[in-house]
Amino acid sequence: MEISDLLLQAANLMLTGMVGVFIFLSILIFAVKGLSKLSTSEQSPEQPRVKSKSQRQDTSGVPAQHVAAISAAIAQFRQNN
């Protein structure tokens, strides 16, 4: 085959290839954006629930003052015995 024919084919391939790569990855950009929108819209009602859960954990845990009092008592007990 003539080199000029090959060159023409290569140029053609270069153009279609680059256009192809850009189209494919651009579609992917929109798909990823859609994905993140989907997951954030599903997450937003969940977020307060997560917060309240962590708050509940705080209140259900032993308060810091109690912890201090108990550890002080244990220390005293160990000293005395």
């Binding site: 140029a11 391939l13 270069m14 290839g17 798909a31 990823v32």
Partner: protein, 376 residues
């Protein structure tokens, strides 16, 4: 006396030819680069040693009946080894930087211009006497610009098996040379001001997005580019195993044992293609030249694309991150980080560069799929 003569005939000394000896020297050179210089040692040690084994006279390890012949036949001729490695790479890849900032995919796409421009360049070389690259050869050579070893080997094994040795050696050598090839181009094309641009912090990405991402990429490949599905499919499988979190054992195997075992045999099989009659040609010189060109053009087009995006976008984009679009994960991203720190010591670009970096892996797999579909 006859016995002694026969014994002499069976020695390497009696059968060693100059081309075989030069290829053994090339193998030793690769071993030197790997062991003393630390250039991609995981691959260059088995490739270099494979090259030596292949060129041992009489033993004929790379001829039908020899070990290396079968390793090549089973692993590379069939396309299995590069795909297994790609699965491991998928299991090693964290897409969160890309999911947080999907526009970085454009940089991964722009850097693939290195591939397609080199394709044109390879055909141009045909004007020089001694070069006779077909369109298949040119495509296989051009994929070196994808800076992705398994993709290059996969495509070369499908399009131009006789050039595979030189293409694989060029691809892995230039990947090791990324820290030397890229920075001058990056500095040349950007101003000090541009290099010190800080980018906003990336948002955290939910697990759900990370799990759905590989499935979505697979879906798009299925719809638009089935020719890329061997590469993209195995990559997505590895990534899904990683992100789903329910098959940690499989994910760990793909990331460690499987990729390591495959790497040993892949290297040996590539080495088996470094026989004197295939490697010591003027075409190998052309391939090495075109490989460097492909890397440089890919880097430059990534940087230019990032510059354009920085002008258009509301969020600032440091043009340096465009250079990471040529995959070569994670070396290219580290290079971006290093060059960025030279201009602004408080500007850590590593995470921002990981986005285009993994986009480059997808981009080169897509480019390989396109080449397979159009030329294969």
């Amino acid at each position: 006396m006859d016995g002694l003569l026969n014994l002499w005939q069976a020695t390497g000394l009696a059968n060693l030819t100059f081309p075989a000896l030069s290829m053994i020297a090339v193998g030793c050179g690769l071993l030197y680069l790997a062991i003393a210089k630390g250039f991609e040692p995981l691959l260059l040690v088995p490739i270099g040693f494979g090259a030596i084994l292949t060129n041992i006279p009489v033993a004929a390890l790379a001829e039908p009946g020899g070990l290396l012949y079968y390793v090549y036949y089973i692993g590379i001729d069939s396309g299995v080894f590069p795909l297994l490695i790609f699965m491991g790479v998928g299991a090693l890849t964290d897409f969160s930087a890309l999911i947080a900032n999907p526009r970085m995919l454009l940089l991964g796409a722009a850097a693939q211009f290195g591939i397609f421009a080199t394709l044109f360049g390879a055909i141009l070389l045909n004007f020089i006497p001694g070069f006779e690259f077909t369109l298949q050869d040119a495509s296989a050579i051009a994929i070196i610009g994808g800076a992705d070893g398994p993709t290059a080997i996969f495509l070369a094994s499908k399009l131009s098996p006789e050039l595979l040795g030189a293409i694989a050696v060029a691809a892995y050598s230039y990947m090791a040379l990324v820290p030397i090839i890229q920075p001058p181009i990056m500095r040349l094309l950007t101003s000090e001001e541009e290099r010190s641009i800080a980018m906003p912090q990336l948002r955290p990405v939910s697990k759900k997005e990370k799990v759905l991402f590989p499935l979505m990429v697979l879906g798009l490949t299925l719809l638009f580019l089935p020719a890329a599905s061997p590469l993209v499919g195995m990559f997505c499988l590895g990534n899904l195993m990683r992100e789903s979190g329910v098959v940690d054992r499989l994910s760990n195997t793909a990331q460690n044992e499987l990729i390591n075992i495959t790497t040993i045999f892949l290297g040996l099989a590539v080495g088996s293609k470094l026989a004197a009659d295939q490697f010591l040609t003027v075409e190998t010189l052309g391939i090495l030249l075109l490989g460097a060109l492909a890397f440089s053009i890919g880097t430059a087009s990534g940087v230019y694309m990032a510059k354009v995006m920085n002008r258009v976008s509301s969020n600032p984009i440091n043009p340096l991150v465009g250079a990471a679009g040529v995959s070569a994960v994670p070396m290219a991203a580290r290079v971006v980080n290093k060059v960025g720190l030279e201009s602004n010591p408080h500007n850590f670009l590593l995470m921002h560069a990981m986005g285009p970096n993994v986009a480059g892996v997808l981009g080169s797999a897509v480019a390989a799929g396109i080449l397979l579909a159009l030329v294969g």
